[in-house]
């Protein structure tokens, strides 16, 4: 039986003025309940275990995948600030966003492996996984493609398609922010006042190019400021800070109907596309980011605060590993698509 996480719990929105364009950490006055904090940890652990398992399978002849190891706080922190009526667009590093949304890891894995029980019947593979039933629409692996689609999804929400009051969250990287479509997208969303949450996971890499080779500034937020959009830059490895910022952003969008830009500073700990020996990566830089790992950070914080005991932690690890074992077995047992599927689903 494939494992499925419950859909994200919804926190009460925080009201009050939103400080636009803030570099500060969001206020941690948000007193998170211990169960929720532990569940954030578990979500991140599950994402990591899932992706590491997928990476371990990748060989030059079996399906590779783009992991987001090191970026789990973005997925868990943001997605769990959303409600079921909200929609998500993502990119080639989507597994974390999907799993945080409650996707069945077995079906995600089956999709990556090209099997018929995958969310897209094996037609997506690892790069464009979408799951309509979870509100995860239109995953694009054209860098910036998701930014192109986002205003339309939000426009449809604003014009009353599907559940009312929903917002669109679009995840993208610093590389996508270098595409012109990023500015077209933000400009249109601001002009038409569309309920879009732009989440830039600034992970310092653009495939095999260091971000500082292509961006003369540190923060994408410095670019969007000119578009007149509320924005905030947050430590993207601190899941509680990310979550608090996302909750505030979502509340702001719901109350004023305008888009919001959230930049999460983080680091891609594994290669661009598995397998990848990362020979091009500065070892010291990688080590310093690993020392600021999002899972280690929260584990440490919860342990120190006595929120979680060692026994419970071990139990979480066991549970997560069992889930991933089951997911892999499910994916491997899933049949290959019938070759007749080659030309189905092209036209409605």
């Amino acid at each position: 039986m494939p494992h499925t996480l419950a859909l994200p719990k919804v926190l009460a929105p925080i009201n009050g003025p939103i400080e636009a364009d803030s570099r500060s950490e969001p206020t941690m006055s948000l007193s998170l309940d211990p169960t929720f904090r532990i569940s954030l940890l578990e979500t991140m652990m599950l994402i990591r275990a899932h992706e590491e398992r997928l990476a371990s399978l990748a060989t030059p002849t079996s399906p590779g995948t783009c992991t987001a190891v090191g970026q789990e706080a973005a997925a868990a922190g943001v997605v769990r600030a959303l409600q079921t009526r909200d929609r998500i667009l993502t990119n080639h590093r989507s597994a974390g966003h999907l799993i945080a949304r409650g996707a069945d890891p077995g079906r995600v894995m089956a999709e990556v492996m090209g099997r018929s029980d995958g969310y897209c019947k094996g037609k997506s593979g690892s790069l464009h996984v979408s799951a309509r039933e979870l509100g995860v629409v239109l995953t694009s692996t054209i860098v910036g493609g998701e930014l192109s689609l986002a205003p339309g999804v939000a426009l449809a929400q604003k014009m009353g398609q599907q559940e009312s009051g929903g917002i669109t969250t679009v995840f993208f990287g610093d590389g996508a922010a270098c595409e012109g479509i990023f500015h077209e997208s933000v400009n249109l969303s601001v002009t038409w006042q569309l309920p879009v949450l732009y989440v830039c996971e600034n992970n310092q890499w653009q495939a095999y190019v260091r971000r500082d080779e292509t961006m003369p500034i540190e923060h994408v937020a410095d670019w969007v400021r000119g578009h007149g959009i509320a924005s905030r830059t947050v430590d993207g490895n601190d899941v509680e800070a990310v979550h608090a910022a996302a909750v505030e952003a979502v509340a702001a969008i719901r109350s004023n109907g305008k888009p919001y830009f959230l930049e999460l500073t983080t680091y891609r700990q594994r290669g661009h596309f598995e397998p990848d020996d990362q020979a091009y990566v500065d070892k010291a830089e990688l080590a310093s980011w690993k020392a600021h790992d999002p899972i280690a950070l929260l584990t440490e914080r919860l342990t120190q605060a006595g929120v979680i005991a060692q026994g419970e932690l071990a139990h979480l690890r066991q549970r997560v590993n069992a889930t991933v074992d089951a997911a892999l077995a499910f994916a491997q047992n899933s049949p290959w698509p019938d070759p007749r599927e080659l030309t189905t689903d092209v036209y409605a």
Binding site: C120, K123, L138, L149, G152, A156, Q157, T344
Partner: protein, 324 residues
């Protein structure tokens, strides 16, 4: 039967479909400025001006379509489509398939093309074949006011992305359009004139040139059948094949350049499936492999005209005589 221009026929189709279905909306650069009547009736939520940013216009249409709206976007001149190709080809055309059929993209992309306005190559480029080549899209390029109306209505109701090309030179040409609901099925060619000796296959502006050529041929005792493809994808193979099986000769005529154009496809279909019926080689009359010039004379020289079509048909008929 009313007599209205192609442009008014499209306007009628838009208004009727927006009236019929609240999910239909339209946006583009200056759409709300130019279509006063639509703004007056449907408001600025459903008729919108956009920034000058073709990529995001098309991408927004694809996103909105996936969520259940039925957008019509006006991208003005066909060369501007190259700025929106990612959204049209990689998103709207592919994401239904890649998602295993989870999403549909009921959107229409309206654009103008063709010689007749002297605007030069960056405003005039017959790009239709590029979209025929992309899976997941449909491509429509009518020639008469009635077909513009009927096909626009069908395109808006279609659950797939439809590229709708309007030949600029046809925009102000009046024609009879049936009163009331008038729909033309996507994917059906029209036999505009029956004939026995040669089949002339075309679409858009050059359909008129084929009809003129057929008239001239009749005066010389040659009976030409004229087929208007109307839809380039899906293409109506059956109508073309039936005609060639009857006449034994085929000329395909279009303004777009020859290499990998629609004419190449029609020729290939016929040689694969009706080779035995051919009594002469298939001919293509097309625009040159050159950007279109703005000089009126050069621009017209790039479009196959009636005289050239007539002469080609006479040559084909004689080829057979010579061969026999």
């Amino acid at each position: 039967m009313q007599t209205i221009t192609v442009s008014d026929a499209v306007g009628q189709a838009l208004a009727e479909e927006m009236r019929r279905d609240p999910r239909v909306l339209m946006f583009g650069e200056g759409v709300a400025t130019k279509r006063h009547d639509l703004v007056a009736e449907f408001g600025t939520q459903r008729v919108r001006n956009t920034p000058l940013a073709e990529g995001i216009i098309a991408g927004t249409a694809a996103g909105a379509a996936a969520m259940g709206l039925r957008p019509v976007v006006d991208l003005l001149f066909a060369p501007f489509l190259t700025l929106s190709m990612d959204a049209i080809i990689n998103s709207a055309g592919k994401l239904r398939y890649l998602s295993g059929g989870q999403f549909e993209f009921p959107m229409v992309v309206l654009t103008m093309t063709g010689a007749g306005w002297g605007v030069g190559a960056q405003h005039n480029h017959n790009l239709e074949a590029m979209f025929v080549h992309a899976p997941g899209l449909k491509v429509v390029m009518p020639s008469s006011a009635a077909d513009f109306k009927g096909l626009m209505k069908a395109a808006i109701r279609d659950d797939n992305p439809v590229l709708f090309f309007m030949d600029l030179a046809l925009a102000h040409v009046p024609g009879p359009v049936p009163e009331g609901e008038h729909l033309v099925s996507i994917g059906r060619a029209a036999v505009l004139r029956e004939g026995r000796d040669v089949t002339l296959v075309s679409y858009a502006k050059t359909v008129g040139h084929c009809l003129q050529a057929a008239q001239a041929l009749q005066e010389q005792g040659v009976s030409a059948e004229v087929i208007d493809l109307r839809t380039l994808k899906p293409i109506d193979e059956a109508t073309v094949l039936a005609s060639v099986r009857k006449t034994g000769r085929l000329i395909v005529v279009h303004e777009a350049s020859r290499l990998c154009g629609v004419g190449a496809e029609v020729a290939a279909i016929v040689s694969e499936k009706a080779f035995g019926a051919l009594t002469a080689p298939v001919m293509r009359l097309t625009g040159p492999d050159a950007p279109s010039a703005s000089s009126w004379v050069l621009e017209q020289a790039g479009v196959p005209q009636a005289d050239a079509i007539r002469d080609a048909a006479l040559r084909l008929v004689n080829t057979e005589t010579v061969a026999a």
